[in-house]
């Protein structure tokens, strides 16, 4: 495509609706997968801690699209969106959450431990910040082996508080490694607001900049903007410019872990939630595209139907897949 997403949308005459449509599709797909998980979670068949990213789809969709399949990515506990955005296999993800043998980790990992090496999704784990140096190490490996891959590290605003983030950013800057850090600042770590975790008035991206990693912040609910900026950073990283850091503000709609809404329990307000809901990245882009006539209601209906079908198939696949056999508990300790 010859124009950046931002240009295409700013300039309806030359609008490349294909790009925006693709971003919309990717966001909707993540949303509908997550909604389906939320809906079915109470059945008690997905028996593992599960962190949904509903409300935060824009970053996953845009960053995933800005990367190549050969690029690497790692993530943390809230990884469904990152996995899907990067091109991870949906069926295998749902099967993994169901603990099935066909899951992307053979049932050993669950929702918090996803992998799809075929598309460079090298792993997500549940210890906050624990994959950050792993992503930097993948960046080091690229440097050592040559080539123009990049390594992407997804992290949250809570992960920024771990010393290992700081150490990892320092090393990435020191060696000018091809690493893209993508921080989704959703203002909470579990139920803890920023206020009890980071000094007032401190900016995450400015701080990271001063560590030596060029940094910027952006609206994480503006998918086109996220895509545009990340894409150009990715090009620079590929060309040897060294690491980059993005802080994208966004908001998690549902509870930290599990399927429910929890604005009633007191750690955040219904008003706050509603104000963020009104900035829904999906409605926003959909509104723009429908408004400019680039997409019709019908197109959207078709898109949703396609996704619904895919999601249903994925759940059917997961439900009908076998559980791992009992002796699988005792395999994969060492690689021979």
């Amino acid at each position: 495509m010859s124009l950046t997403a931002r240009e295409s949308l700013d300039n309806p005459r030359v609008a490349d609706a294909g790009l925006a449509r693709e971003l919309l599709y990717r966001m909707k797909r993540i949303r509908m997968v997550e909604e389906a998980i939320a809906e079915r979670y109470p059945e008690g068949k997905m028996r593992c801690p599960t962190h949904l990213s509903i409300g935060q789809e824009a970053v996953s969709a845009a960053v995933g699209m800005a990367l190549r399949a050969g690029d690497f990515a790692v993530s943390g506990h809230r990884a469904h969106g990152h996995y899907l955005g990067k091109g991870g296999d949906l069926k295998k993800m749902i099967a993994e959450i169901y603990g099935k043998a066909t899951g992307c980790s053979g049932g050993k990992g669950g929702s918090m431990h996803l992998i799809d090496r075929d598309v460079g999704f090298m792993g997500s784990t549940a210890i906050v910040a624990s994959t950050i140096p792993v992503g930097v190490g993948l960046g080091l490996s690229i440097r050592l082996r040559g080539g123009d891959q990049i390594s992407t590290v997804f992290l949250g605003d809570g992960a920024v508080e771990e010393g290992v983030f700081f150490e990892s950013a320092n090393f990435a800057a020191l060696k000018k490694l091809p690493v893209l850090f993508v921080c989704e600042n959703n203002f909470y770590s579990v139920y803890s607001p920023m206020r009890v975790r980071q000094p007032p008035g401190r900016s995450i991206h400015a701080m990271v900049g001063s560590l030596g990693v060029p940094s910027e912040s952006g609206d994480g609910n503006d998918v086109v903007d996220v895509y545009t900026r990340v894409r150009s950073a990715v090009e620079e990283i590929r060309n040897g410019a060294g690491p980059r850091f993005f802080e994208f503000t966004t908001y998690r709609w549902r509870e930290h872990c599990g399927p429910n809404f929890d604005n009633d329990i007191g750690y955040r307000s219904q008003d706050e939630f509603l104000s963020w809901k009104s900035k829904d990245p999906i409605e926003r882009l959909e509104g723009q595209l429908v408004g400019t006539g680039a997409l019709g209601k019908e197109d959207i209906g078709r898109m949703e139907a396609d996704i619904r079908h895919e999601v249903e198939q994925a759940f059917a696949f997961a439900e009908s897949s076998p559980f791992p056999s009992a002796d699988e508990t005792f395999t994969h300790l060492y690689k021979d």
Partner: protein, 351 residues
């Protein structure tokens, strides 16, 4: 006395300590949130204020050091982590500082901190949310390691831990939080370093800790009905170890089975067996045994955890082998209705 659950007992101990002594503070990720660490810290911030009860950044290592430093100026910090696994980030502060400070500075300054770590199990907690590393802590000279089973012990030992002048690692098993029991009201201490003989019998000594003691209680009840009597020793604290309680029992029964919530190799159960082999060799009538988790990370899928965790049936099976009797291991599980990967029907996941 009245019946309350383990989580409430912890909550009472914290409130009681903070009430009695201004120096006690309580912090950790989520201590003041609506869930209050599985209910254990509910209401504390309202009662004792934001200075003494506070949330923290996700910075396990520094926040351990902060507690250590505060304790040197006459503060009594109680730090909490929702899973032991997160605390792996803080081994430097725990081992290089807290455990050694009193010794390496010639006894001038001790580090009276209490670190509550919750041990996960089941509902797909998986490899990074289910580790039980008590043998690590027991291996580090200078630490005390407490692993209560009953609500009363939870309360009494937590109070003893907070007012102990040394660093205490206080391990709470997630599957115990809803266990109910009689708990004395008010200021109630249980001494660190004393085991508790929960059942008496002449046929076998079972040494256990934390959640495995619940499984052992099921097993011993089942076996008692079949005429087999066991001493069931709930260690309560593994460091210092109440070796005398074990020795007395093994001298009586001549048979030893040790249970552990951790992976088998390098487990604390192994330490107990080693000591029995070294110091009770002549009274042992047969080879001691241990039941611990397999030497594998914990898997996530319920299809995989079923064969991973050990429980009452395993205890009965091994006892059968030791005594050469068929004690009907499978029947020992029969009355328990919940799926194997939840502690009881009260647990609806996800954490």
């Amino acid at each position: 006395m009245r019946v309350i659950n383990f989580a409430k007992a912890i909550n009472e101990a914290l409130a009681c300590a903070m009430e009695a002594d201004q120096r006690v503070i309580c912090y950790g990720l989520g201590v003041d949130d609506p869930k209050g660490i599985f209910g254990t810290t509910l209401g504390l911030q309202d009662r004792f204020g934001e200075d003494r009860v506070f949330d923290m950044p996700t910075s396990e290592n520094a926040m351990t050091g902060v507690g250590i430093g505060a304790s040197m100026n006459d503060i009594r910090p109680v730090m909490t982590h929702q899973r032991l696994d997160f605390f792996l980030l803080a081994m430097d502060q725990l081992v290089n500082n807290a455990a050694k400070w009193y010794y390496m500075f010639g006894g001038q300054q001790s580090v009276p901190i209490t670190i509550r770590l919750i041990l996960g199990r089941g509902w797909g907690q998986g490899p990074t949310h289910s580790q039980n590393l008590q043998s690590w802590f027991a291996h580090v000279p200078g630490l005390k390691v407490v692993m209560p089973t009953t609500p009363a012990d939870a309360k009494g030992l937590l109070l003893s831990s907070i007012f102990d002048d040394n660093p205490v690692v206080f391990l709470e098993h997630r599957w115990l939080h809803n266990v109910e029991g009689d708990v004395p009201q008010g200021d109630f201490w249980v001494p660190i370093g004393k085991a508790h003989l929960l059942e008496e019998g002449d046929d076998l000594t079972i040494v256990s800790m934390s959640y495995m003691t619940i499984e052992a209680l099921h097993a011993t009840a089942h076996m008692k009905a079949l005429g087999v009597g066991c001493d069931l020793i709930d260690l309560r604290t593994i460091m210092p170890l109440d070796w005398e309680a074990i020795a007395v029992s093994v001298r009586k029964t001549g048979r030893l089975l040790v249970l552990d919530t951790a992976s088998e190799t390098g487990s604390f159960a192994g330490e107990v067996i080693a000591r029995s082999a070294m110091h009770l060799f002549d009274v042992l009538k047969q080879a001691p045994r241990r039941i611990a988790m397999p030497d594998f990370p914990s898997p996530t899928s319920p299809a995989l955890t079923r064969g991973y965790y050990r429980g009452a049936a395993d205890i009965v099976r091994v006892t059968s082998e030791m005594l050469g009797q068929d004690l009907k291991p499978d029947a020992a599980e029969k009355n328990r209705q919940s799926p194997h990967d939840v502690p009881g029907d009260w647990f609806k996941g996800p954490f």
